[in-house]
Every structure is written in structure tokens, then in C-alpha cells.
């Protein structure tokens, strides 16, 4: 395998659990050498490399992977609350900036307060701030200020997940 110029950076980022976004120059290298990188990560570490149109990431089939579960809960509750508030949640998640304060308000007054209280990453303002920092490190959100952020294209992963669940539910009820 001929290694790309930024091979080490690519491996470091992906192995740190980061999503490599299309806005990152390394994404193009991954995309161009997709097959090689797939083989590399599978043969070297046993991990699957997923390359989508807007981002690339590694995934490991570990049953105790809790971050993804917390992210799913976070998206599910946020979308539900935004919709309940009469907001276009898809537009907001796609294009808008969020403030920690508004997120906290939605979560503190959520109908799913029981789920929130039972989740160590989302239970209060401090946990949520830490959780959002983790999302930032993984490139799921992009912090635009001390208490502000926008969602990156990675949110599509979770929107697709919800669509799949809805589809499965519809098929189940037919």
C-alpha cells in the first residue's frame, strides 16, 4: 500500500473515534483510497471503515459502546422537543446555531425527563456540557463559541437511523 501524505493524521483521527468530515482535506484522501483504507483498517485493527458522502468514520461492533446510545437519545429528545415547540427541527439541525442554554431548557422541560435523569451524560447542565464537548471532539458538532455550536453532517447518521426505525415499525404493523 502506498501511504498518503497525511496517513498518520488520518489513522490518528479515525482511531481517536473522530468523524473525518468532507470539509477536512484528509477526507479526499480517504475517499480516493477508500478500498485501500478499508483493507488497512480491517487487516491492521479489525475495524470497519465507513465512507459516506459527507464524512468517514471507523466503527467497532462493541455492545458496550455507550456514546452512540447517548447520541441517539440526545437527537431523539432534541428533535421531539423542537417539533413540539412548533419548530422545523430538520432545518434547525441542518442550518442553525444552538446555544447550550436553549438545549438545557428543552431537556429540563422535556416529556422524557425520566430517560434524561437516568442517563449520566444528559442528566444535568454540567453533564450535558461535557457530553457536548465529547461530540465536538468527535466532530459530531462544531463549537462556534463558548456556549454555542452547530451540528455537522454527521447528524444524518442519526436521522437515517430514525427513518430506518420508522420504516421497520411500519413494516411491522402491516
Amino acid at each position: 500500500m502506498e501511504y498518503s501524505k497525511n496517513h498518520r493524521q488520518i489513522v490518528d483521527d479515525l482511531m481517536a473515534g473522530k468523524f473525518v468530515l468532507a470539509t477536512n482535506k484528509n477526507f479526499l484522501e480517504i475517499k480516493e483510497k477508500e478500498n485501500q483504507y478499508e483493507l488497512f483498517f480491517k487487516a491492521s485493527f479489525g475495524h470497519d471503515l465507513i465512507v459516506k458522502n459527507d464524512y468517514a468514520f471507523l466503527c467497532s461492533e462493541e455492545t458496550n459502546e455507550m456514546l452512540s446510545r447517548d447520541v441517539c437519545i440526545f437527537f431523539a429528545i432534541l428533535c421531539y422537543e423542537l417539533d413540539k415547540d412548533g419548530r422545523n427541527f430538520l432545518d434547525l439541525i441542518n442550518y442553525s446555531e444552538f446555544e447550550y442554554a436553549s438545549i438545557n431548557e428543552y431537556f429540563d422541560n422535556s416529556a422524557y425527563i425520566e430517560v434524561i435523569k437516568n442517563n449520566s451524560k444528559l442528566k444535568d447542565n454540567a453533564s450535558r456540557a461535557e457530553f457536548l464537548d465529547t461530540l465536538h471532539r468527535r466532530n459530531i458538532i462544531d463549537k462556534t463559541g463558548n456556549q454555542k455550536f452547530v451540528f455537522t453532517a454527521v447528524h444524518k447518521e442519526y436521522i437515517d437511523f430514525a427513518m430506518e426505525l420508522a420504516k421497520a415499525k411500519t413494516e411491522e404493523s402491516v
Binding site: 458496550n64 456514546l67 452512540s68 429528545i77 421531539y80 412548533g86 430538520l90 430517560v115 430514525a162 426505525l165
Partner: protein, 397 residues
Amino acid sequence: MRIDPKTIIRFTLEYFDSIRDLFDVQLADGIIRKESASAIYEKGGSHIEKQLQEYRLVRNVGGDFELRPEYFHFLKFVLEEFRPLLPEHIEKYNHSITELFRKIREEIYGDVTILNSRIKSLAIEVREFVSTVEHNTLSLLEQTRALKANADKIDYREKVQRASYWIDYYILPLNRILDVSNTESIIHKLYNLSEFVNNKRLNFHDKEAQDNFEQLYIQLLQTNDDLLKQSKILTNELLPLIERIRTESRILTGFITYLRNPYKTKIPSLFKRKQYSPYSSNVAINTKAYMEQFMNDEAIIIDDDFDGGNNWIFNKDYFKEKLKEQLPVENFFNWCNTTLKEEYKSIETDKLFALTTLLFEEDLLLEFDEKNKKQKLKTKEYTLQVPTIAVSNHGIF
């Protein structure tokens, strides 16, 4: 006795709140029940009922009432209270326009008076049709926006039900009415009508009819623009908006299903980082795994018959002594050659290499001239190219 129109307008203005209450009841129920009317009259003044009857603004339906259609439509207009009409209602214009157009075409050279009446009637029908479509599009847009904004805070399931209802019963049929490619649509018929009227406005034997055709043609041109605008609202705004409600509702259905059982549902896989810390519980396991690779669990069996093979052990002291006895030596590798042949009758490569380690002894002085040509030394296995190295005693030894 004819009532002065200004009296009716003044009456409407003076008692507008009560009239609006009557209007709202009829809008909601289709009729004004006797009890509802009595309550409204009691609040606004009992003389209202008498005047409404006198001005022929209401009529009795059994024991109940209704505002006369003309007055009801007037109030609807001023209150901008347009309820979307079912497309079946709009389709009636298809019939009336088609019929009038057919008669005009078939009897184009018949009685001019009836022809002019038909042209004017056709113009009225077209105007009403456009107006109805406009009101319908706007009211559908308003309803859809209200649904999207969810001002009533309705459940998402009801929201998607309502969205589907608007799509299936109103929006898609309206889209079909405005579909030019459909030969049965009203808009397609209006195109044909426009072509016919254009021809007649330029070439017709009766001047009055020609003028009427001219006016109708201008109206049809405007109609075309208006319907195009409505069609654009429908396809660019209404359909995407309602489709968006459906999509968002699907996403919410998925998320709500997930939230019912967040710890048992299979979720998208993310990468789990591996971190090793001296305090981590993994350290014990990892250390054990590391140490185990050096543990050889296989039993070692020593064979009694083993003769030890022909492993040669280099006796460095013996050969060093031998070398020192012959110092100074002009060519070390010649000395190796002679010595090995004396000792073993042949030269084996590993033995030769073992002898070369003597060159690193500190008490020996080596001299080596790079200009000298390398010589060949043949061992049992290889032919080696070796330099000429002179060896002598180092220092006072």
C-alpha cells in the same frame, strides 16, 4: 320594497360582532341552530333578528337559520375566511366551461345575441374558477403552515394524519386540475379555448362579438398567468411543505419508537476508543497476555541417545595463543587458511568467521592498506573476497 344598500352596509358595521358570531357558527356547523341564534341575539340585541329578516340577510331552514349565500360569501371575503374547497367542487367549472365553449364553437354563426351572452357567461365562469383556485391554494397554504407551526400543539401522529388528509383530498387533486399535460384538466381546456378565442378576436364578422372575444382573450391571458402562479405555489411551496411534515413525522416516529426502549434497540455503531491507563482494569489482563507469550508450556525431552551433534565450539584462547606464537603475521587470512587446514583439513565458513573475531583483540595491532587488492579465499561453502591485514603485537608485549 327595495332596501337601500347603504342601510345594509351600515347595519353590518353596527352589529358586526353579532353578525360575525352568526357567521362563525354557520362556518363551523353549516347551519345556525335556533338555540345558538337566540344566544347571539340575546347578547347583541333582539332587534337584530328582525332586521336580518327584513333585509333578507338570513333565511329560515326548518326551525333553524342560515345566512343567505351571497351575504355569507361577502362576509367570507371580508373576513378572509376561506376554507379549502374539495376539488370536486372546483371540477364543476370544468363542466360549465366545457359546455359553454362547445356551444359557442358549434353555434358560432348562429344568433349573435346568444353568442355574446355565452361569451360573457364563459368569462364569468373563468373568473370564478380562477378565484376559487386562488382561494383554495391560499387557504391550503395557510392550513399547512399552521399545521407545520403546530400552534395547537397537536400530537405528531395527528399532524401526519392531517397532512396526509390535505395531500390526498385537496392538494393532489388540485394539482391534477392545474396539470397542463392532462388533456382532461380544466387548465388544458382553457388553453384550447384561448386558441379559439384568439382566432375569433382577429377574424369575426360581428363587431360586438369580436370585441367580446377580445375581452375574453385578455382575461384568458391573465387567467393563464394567475393559474401558473397558483401552480407554482402548489409545487414549490405547498407540496414540499406537506412532504416535509411527512418526513419529519417519520423521523419522529423512529425516535419515539427508540425512546420507548433506548437500551434495547440496536443503534448505529460508533468507534470505541481503546485507552490504556496504568490504573485501568485492562492492565492486569494485558500484562498477563504479554507475559504469557514468554511462557513455554511445551515439555522439553532430552534424548539419551543424542550425541550432541557435531557442534564446533570455538576455543578462542587456543587460537589466540597460536596466532601470537607466529606474530608478526603479514596476511591474517593466509594464516587462517593454513591454521584451519592444519587443524581440520578443510576450511568451513563459520570456523573462518570465528577466527576473524581475533582481530578485535586489544593486544593485537592491525595494519590494513586499502590500496591492496582483495584476495580470494575459498571455504567449503563460499568463495570470499578478503583484504590483506597484517597483524603484530600491540605495545610492549
